[in-house]
């Protein structure tokens, strides 16, 4: 720094650098940019997490006695100032919103109450919140339990003692009924459908070749059908018996305004005394609600119940998409990087690929609908399933077409990442392999691809994150509000890639904006979002773990 030529010359001080040239401003600028980004992300996460995970917490029930004498009970949801512009009481008074439940009795779930009208507010003892199969929750006090014609428990205390057992039994009954309906009757139905299609196939063949004798085949089909129909009747009877046994028990509750409601015990999913629960009790309710949210199927137009089919559909769709996009993207990148002669054409292709990532996803959806669903799927139907037409088999939206559409949507990401990964493989490594007498193909397979695998996986991670969150193209290519069957089940051939499926992203849209009861479904939206995020994170962590393992294995020489 000192510029003196001789040691005894006076040291000329270097001119002090201004703050600007020292670059402190840049540190502040970059720091605050990062800070703003983090703040926004954290804020978003916080909103989603608090709203989403709070949904399961059993809150207390307030009982309000109004000045006109009427009584209301419900979970307080929010409190807000009443706007009355121009008046002195503008935003001075408040009102509260209660989730009162009992939609079947009141016709609404939520009610606003002006605080000025409230005479008495209390957390009344003995109030139960009952989750049931229809009409949202019921809030009231237990009155009696009836089995057949006989009253087996009367009065709040007696019913309370019996409730846990009733609910547990209802759970078992539902499981049993579902097992009969879904697995056994479902299996018979599946077989009957196959028989129907086989018969249509025979009809179809007859038209093409009227001389052929089909009597043996038809007799066999007839026989199988008779067997299945007999089995069906048997199962129907079994189901009826089971239902009879299950529906004999009924519980009656009385709401705070004195109406009585009788429920079949079978319809009660959960019941807890909201104001008397201890903290561990609340935590148990929370856990059980969370668990059933994750593992149950949706009920009541998706506003209640769980999201299991949507989770399953999302994961399977992303999985199928990865299976399609990685080979496609890597092969394309290999050609671009390893074989193609680098020149204006390749540069143009590269730019085009990059721009493909900017095409609106709905355009990919339209393409998927036109190409995969109608053209490819329709073609498959005409060639392989002509007997089922005009009912389409593959010629309609399904998980396979949705996955392929998303694969197309995300392939630019994989191509770009794979190309960079391939370019980063040291030239010396390729030369070593080629100098050993390896062909180009062997070099790529044994040296280049393993070394580029971590980078390719980075591309896959980006692609998966994008695909898991994409909704618009799915709406055209196979996602549905409610899929009765999962794309993977116990009936041959197990993977039913032609089936429609549920997806968390679409579920959010559907519950949040297409639901008949948007207000009641709002917490569901947040919770579903939380789980969509969790699934994306989990899938990413898996991919990152694999990538780190590969990096460790194929780390290139530092020397």
């Amino acid at each position: 720094m000192a510029s003196g030529t001789a040691s005894d010359a006076p040291r000329t001080a270097a001119p002090p650098r201004s703050k600007w040239t020292r670059g402190e401003h840049l540190i502040w600028l970059t720091g605050s940019a990062l800070g703003i980004c983090l703040l926004m992300i954290l804020g978003l996460l916080l909103v989603i997490l608090t709203n989403g995970l709070g949904m399961f917490w059993p809150s207390r029930i307030e009982q309000l006695t109004l000045k006109d004498g009427s009584v209301l009970a419900g979970e307080p949801v929010q409190r807000q100032a009443i706007p009355n512009p121009g008046q002195p009481d503008h935003l001075k008074k408040h009102r509260v919103q209660l989730k009162v439940g009992n939609r079947d009795l009141y016709g609404f779930d939520f009610k606003w109450v002006d605080e000025s009208e409230i005479a008495k507010r209390e957390e009344a003892a003995g109030l139960y919140l009952i989750e049931r199969s229809e009409y949202g929750p019921l809030i009231g006090t237990p009155v009696k339990v009836v089995e057949g014609e006989k009253e087996i428990a009367t009065g709040a205390a007696a019913v309370r003692a019996r409730l846990p057992e009733l609910v547990a039994k209802a759970d078992r009954d539902r499981e049993a009924v579902k097992a009969i309906e879904k697995d056994e009757i479902g299996g018979v139905n599946y077989t009957l459908e196959r028989i129907r299609l086989d018969r249509r196939k025979l009809d179809y063949r007859l038209k093409q070749d009227p001389s052929r004798d089909q009597s043996a085949e038809r007799r066999a089909l007839e026989k199988r059908e008779q067997e299945q129909k007999a089995r069906y009747a048997e199962l129907e009877e079994k189901l009826a018996k089971r239902m009879e046994a299950a529906t004999g028990t009924r519980v009656t509750f009385r709401t705070v305004d004195g109406q009585e409601k009788e429920l079949r015990a079978l319809d009660v999913y959960r019941a807890y005394p909201a104001n008397e629960l201890s903290w561990p009790g609340r935590a148990r309710v929370y856990g059980s609600r969370l668990w059933s949210f994750l593992t149950d199927e949706p009920r009541e137009a998706n506003t209640e119940g769980g999201i299991f089919p949507a989770i399953f559909g999302t994961v399977m769709m992303v999985f199928l998409m990865s299976l399609a996009v990685v080979p496609l993207g890597v092969l394309a990148a290999l050609y671009l990087r390893e074989y193609a002669r680098q020149g204006p054409l390749v540069r143009t292709v590269r730019i085009a690929v990059n721009n493909l990532a900017g095409v609106p996803s709905i355009v990919f959806g339209v393409f998927g609908l036109g190409f995969f669903v109608y053209f490819v799927g329709g073609g498959i139907d005409r060639i392989f399933f002509p007997e089922a037409l005009p009912t389409p088999t593959y010629g309609t939206g399904g998980i396979l077409w949705a996955s392929l559409t998303l694969a197309l949507l995300t392939v630019p990401v994989v191509i770009v990442a794979a190309e960079e990964a391939l370019a980063a493989v040291p030239r010396s490594m390729r030369e070593a392999s080629l100098a050993m007498g390896a062909t180009r193909f062997q070099t790529i397979l044994r040296v280049v691809l393993p070394a580029a695998a971590p980078g390719i996986l980075t591309g896959l991670i980006l692609a998966m994150a994008r695909a898991a969150g994409e909704v618009a193209p799915l709406m055209l290519t196979g996602v549905v509000k409610l899929a009765p069957e999962l794309p993977l089940d116990g009936f041959f051939p197990f993977f039913h890639l032609d089936r429609k499926f549920m997806h968390l992203g679409f579920h959010i849209y559907d519950v949040g904006f297409q639901s008949p009861n948007v207000e009641a479904a709002k917490p569901m939206v947040y919770t579903t979002t939380v789980f969509l995020l969790i699934i994306v994170v989990l899938m990413n962590i898996t991919a990152i773990t694999v990538r780190n393992y590969l990096r460790q294995k194929y780390k290139t020489s530092a020397f």
Binding site: R341, Q342, P426, S428, M429, R430, E431, A432, S433, L434, A435, M436, G437, A438, T439, Q442, R446, V447, P450, A451, K553, Y554, K555, T556, S557, F559
Partner: protein, 286 residues
């Protein structure tokens, strides 16, 4: 710099003599050589990268089971010539080679010649050691694997044989399954040599094999080259003149893409015929 050169000049002839007296050439090879032509024959080899004419009419023979050193300042074309001998230049766009190169009688640039076969017969060791990110074992047998040999016993034997040949066996025999990248620089370079000799080539090309190594590792590689000479014809490019003097039997001096002088190493370092050669080996330029 000057002192170093003088020292070199005094020691070089001794080294050269030592090599010549101690080398044992098998009878069969002598017989083969007596009748046939040298291992590698270059006749008027030219090479251009696009418009850039890099090699001009190089004509030289490299003899069987001898070490030929190619020396010269940077950019003189010695590495380019080396890479012509196993057609590694094919990997670069816009390269044109003309003139004749014959390896063991095979015209390697003929259209009918299989480049894979050429490279299998002419092994190469690079300036920067470049083991694959695989185990030591897999590194050594890479050439056999790509040739489709998967018999475990054959591979094991080839691995041991090659590692012994590269004087690395004793150092790595207990950790063949560990990554080849965990070795030291010198060991990695010997691993690359083991990998090259595993496929039993006839010729080994070395492109400045010691330039990134410390003196002790360099010494080991030089000893190794000396041993390998008994079985393989070796062509090495080096910037280290002492090394050229120590390990080679014949030396070729290149300048601006032309072969200036080519002759027995001892003669070249003691009595260079060309003024340019003398200037270069005495350190006046380069």
């Amino acid at each position: 710099m000057l002192m170093a050169d003088q020292e070199m000049k005094t020691t070089a002839p001794d080294t050269g003599l030592r090599i010549r007296t101690e080398v044992k050439v098998p009878e069969a090879a002598v017989a083969a050589r007596a009748g046939g032509e040298p291992d590698i024959v270059c006749r008027n080899v030219n090479l251009s990268y696009g418009d850039n004419h890099v090699l001009h009419d190089v004509t030289m023979d490299m003899e069987d089971r001898r070490v030929t050193a190619l020396i010269g300042p940077s950019g003189c074309g010695k590495s380019t010539l080396l890479r012509c001998l196993n057609r590694m230049n094919d990997l670069i766009d816009n390269v044109k080679v003309w003139g004749e190169i014959k390896v063991k009688g095979l015209d390697i640039n003929a259209p009918t010649t299989d480049v894979i076969e050429v490279r299998r017969r002419v092994g190469m060791v690079f300036q920067k050691s470049n083991p694959f990110p695989k185990s030591i074992y897999e590194n050594v047998i890479y050439g056999l694997r790509i040739a489709g040999i998967n018999d475990r016993a054959t591979l094991d034997e080839a691995c041991e044989h090659s590692l012994r040949g590269a004087a690395l066996w004793d150092e790595v025999k207990d950790r063949l399954d560990e990554s080849g990248l965990g070795l030291s620089g010198g060991q990695m370079q010997r691993l690359c040599i083991a990998r090259a000799i595993a496929v039993e080539p006839e010729i080994i090309l070395m492109d400045e094999p010691c330039s990134a190594l410390d003196p002790i590792a360099t010494l080991k590689i030089e000893e190794l080259i000396y041993q390998l000479k008994e079985r393989y014809t070796i062509v090495t490019v080096t910037h280290n003149l002492q090394q050229a003097a120590r390990v080679s039997d014949k030396t070729a001096f290149f300048w601006l893409g032309r072969l200036v002088e080519f002759g027995p190493t001892a003669e070249m370092f003691t009595a260079p015929k060309d003024k340019l050669t003398e200037d270069y080996i005495t350190g006046r330029f380069g």
